[in-house]
């Protein structure tokens, strides 16, 4: 049990007592990093790799404690999987605002990062989702394989573990 081992690293037992002490940051970050519930929100073809394939049994996001939620109010992570169009931009922003803190964004694929194949001569594609909302992790690829997305989630977990509750 990696998770349990991880937890005991943060906890200190007082000898002979019933109390355990830890730093608040450590226990909060441990909890947040290992329960990244992601929003069931796919924009385009990247959703098949990043949300459906990565979430299904072969790649199995459950082992990271990641479960999809159908509501932005219950989710911590938004995977922007695909091209953001000018019409979708206000809705994406609204969904991001409906998520409760702490919230994280993973921009998946070239389209979400820069506009990708729709960068030139496109009237509707938003050139990068970071024009709309702050992005924590970028995963390049067209589309990225589920392994690459999982690497992105691990990078995000590493980022979360360095955070402090005083700053956020």
């Amino acid at each position: 049990m990696d998770v349990a081992k991880d937890l005991f690293r943060y906890l200190e037992k007082i000898p002979g007592g019933q109390l355990i002490i830890t730093s608040t940051d450590a226990i909060f970050n441990w909890g947040r990093a290992n329960s990244l519930w992601y929003m069931l929100f796919g924009l385009k073809c990247c959703a098949i790799e990043g949300i459906m394939a990565a979430g299904a049994s072969r790649f199995d996001l459950d082992r990271f404690g990641m479960i999809f939620r159908a509501s932005p109010r219950q989710s911590d992570l938004m995977i922007v999987a695909g091209t953001v169009t000018a019409k979708m931009a206000p809705r994406l922003k609204k969904l991001y605002e409906q998520m409760s803190e702490p919230r994280y964004v993973l921009a998946m694929g070239s389209c979400a990062i820069t506009g990708g194949a729709f960068y030139y001569d496109s009237y509707s594609a938003v050139k990068g989702v970071d024009n709309l909302i702050p992005v924590d992790v970028y995963v390049p690829g067209c589309p990225p394989r589920p392994e690459a997305v999982i690497e992105g989630f691990m990078k995000l977990q590493a980022k979360i573990k360095k955070e402090s509750i005083l700053k956020r």
Binding site: A86, K87, Y119, Y120, D121, S122, Y123, S124, K127
Partner: protein
Amino acid sequence: MSEEKKIAAAELLIECRKLQATYDYLPFMTAIDYPEKNIIELVYRLQSTATNETLMLKVELPRDKAEVSSLISVWPAADWHEREVYDMFGVKFIGHPDLRRILLPPDWQGYPLLKDYTDPNMIKKPVTI
């Protein structure tokens, strides 16, 4: 093999009422912009569900006054196709009951599939030789 037929814009509705007896299904319609010829060409694809025959109807409209009668009364399937052509090319369909934008936001300015469409957010592809 599908046949091709060119029709004048004024006769479209009358002609299509006649064609309806053979071709009972309108699977597809779209438009093409030709700025050098100063026309917008509408393309209707008709199909007969009984014999599987197909026919391609082409209608040329002047670019500065792109108006044609709506075919909803003949094939109700024309509804959303005509709205899309209006959305992308600005062709006015006379007699359409609900002619408004279908894909783009309602406050969009201009018709993006016209060849001379410009937008401040659009980045021109650099030409490489």
